[in-house]
């Protein structure tokens, strides 16, 4: 089937198998491998992207469901060499160790700040319930989100 998906502002038209998941569409059809696959079962959040501005686990969405819609991935956040404030804050606060969960963390928290621009620490922790990190213990991730929220 034919789908047209706008990803990071660019329109892509592809002929795909209807069973293709959005995460595979991004990684394999478009070569956007910043979106990671973690658990494959809608739990870990590594594959989080924005679909029409709202956070989504792209392992739990058919590419067909994204037809005609807008997707933003981690590759779409920076403006040239200028990192997105959330990316900058993750760097400065060292909100990562291995980095595998980081794209999903950043996509989940940038969507979250649109609904709650000045969250408390508790609200940040609650907003991260769909994203797992097995390295950091979350402390520096929460600090990064707090820092980004103060700058955005």
């Amino acid at each position: 089937m034919k789908v047209t998906v706008t990803v990071n502002g660019k329109r892509y038209e592809r002929d795909i198998d209807p069973r293709m998941l959005l995460v595979h569409f991004l990684r394999e059809e478009l070569g956007l491998t910043g979106t990671n696959i973690g658990c494959d079962t809608s739990q870990c959040g590594a594959c989080t992207v924005h679909l029409d501005g709202k956070s989504l686990k792209s392992c739990t969405c058919l590419a067909a469901q994204a037809d005609g819609r807008e997707v933003t991935t981690i590759e779409g956040l920076a403006q040239g060499d200028q990192l997105h404030p959330m990316q900058q804050a993750f760097w400065e606060k060292h909100g990562l160790q291995c980095g595998y969960c980081t794209p999903g963390m950043i996509m989940a928290t940038t969507a979250f700040l649109k609904t709650n621009p000045h969250p408390t620490e508790e609200e940040i922790r609650h907003a991260l319930e769909g994203n797992m990190c097995r390295c950091t213990g979350y402390q520096n991730i929460v600090a990064a989100v707090k820092t980004a929220s103060e700058r955005m």
Partner: protein, 285 residues
């Protein structure tokens, strides 16, 4: 993981979707996909055709009809139900339950109707819809049906929805001065309900005049507890009355409680009582 092969149809009206569903063998309806896609990935479901109704805007949204009914379209995402002023005002237990489904990403795209049609025993909204006396509106080749929640949930992942029917809306009666709450013991990893209890209460001069209690998670399907309801009505909902109602609930579901390596049936039955007390106290705040 990748889903098995299927053909895919996106339809632009409920009537078209019903027509396609009744004329296609082994078809499955796709709404938000947050129950179906994991089931596809794990080969628990292998439909020949997927009928995507996810963009039928006519099935999306919350409204109040007259002053007696809260109508929630089947495609309304959990996040929208949880944030709806009308749901919070007339059925706050449902706002609480939908706000505890999965995580923010799941609540953005998972739908109330999809959740109810899936009938996962560990899910939160079915328990609340049952306790609220909700009605499920469906559309099939023979027209509309309205099914009481008490008849809709039939067992583990099993409902009264026929293979050629689509769930279109959930109706919650608006009862004057009725208070509600949902309390849940969440599994620490999955956040699914080990036990969830929904209560709907009316009081007059401090005395409970009407009570509806349903439990989920602990049982294969959401279940009303007449014994717990009787134990609450006529009391001032004081501690001793809550203890008696909790014991009645535990006792009533003991035989039907499900157990697994994390939470044996006795534990779930006991925690149902604890969640009942928590829910009543939350409702009366």
């Amino acid at each position: 993981m990748r889903p098995p092969s299927f053909s895919y149809q996106r339809l632009s009206s409920v009537a078209e979707a019903v027509q396609m569903l009744s004329s296609t063998d082994n078809a499955k309806v796709l709404a938000g996909g947050h129950s179906l896609i994991p089931a596809l990935n794990q080969r628990l479901s292998q439909p020949g055709t997927i009928i995507d109704i996810g963009r039928l805007n006519e099935l999306n949204g919350v409204s109040v009809t007259g002053s007696s009914k809260l109508m929630i379209g089947a495609l309304t995402p959990h996040a929208v139900v949880a944030a709806s002023n009308n749901v919070r005002r007339y059925c706050s237990a449902l706002a609480t339950a939908c706000g505890q489904v999965g995580d923010p990403q799941v609540r953005n795209w998972g739908t109330l109707g999809g959740n109810l049609a899936h009938a996962d025993p560990a899910s939160d909204p079915p328990t609340v819809v049952l306790a609220a006396g909700g009605k499920l509106h469906t559309m099939g080749p023979n027209g509309e049906r309205m099914i009481d929640a008490a008849d809709f949930f039939q067992g583990l992942f099993t409902t009264a929805l026929q293979p050629d029917e689509i769930l279109t809306a959930v109706e919650i009666p608006i009862v004057a001065d009725r208070k509600s709450a949902y309390a849940k013991l969440a599994h620490p990893a999955s956040r699914y309900a080990v036990v969830g209890v929904a209560v709907f209460l009316n009081t007059e001069n401090g005395s409970c005049t009407n009570a509806s209690v349903a439990v989920g998670g602990a049982t294969a399907k959401p279940t009303r507890s007449a014994a717990a309801e009787q134990a609450l009505v006529g009391t001032a909902l004081e501690d001793a009355a809550l203890d008696a109602a909790a014991a009645a609930l535990t006792n009533e579901i003991q035989g039907d409680a499900v157990g697994d390596i994390y939470a044996p049936s006795e534990y779930r039955a006991a925690m149902a009582g604890a969640m009942l007390k928590k829910a009543v106290r939350a409702a009366m705040v």
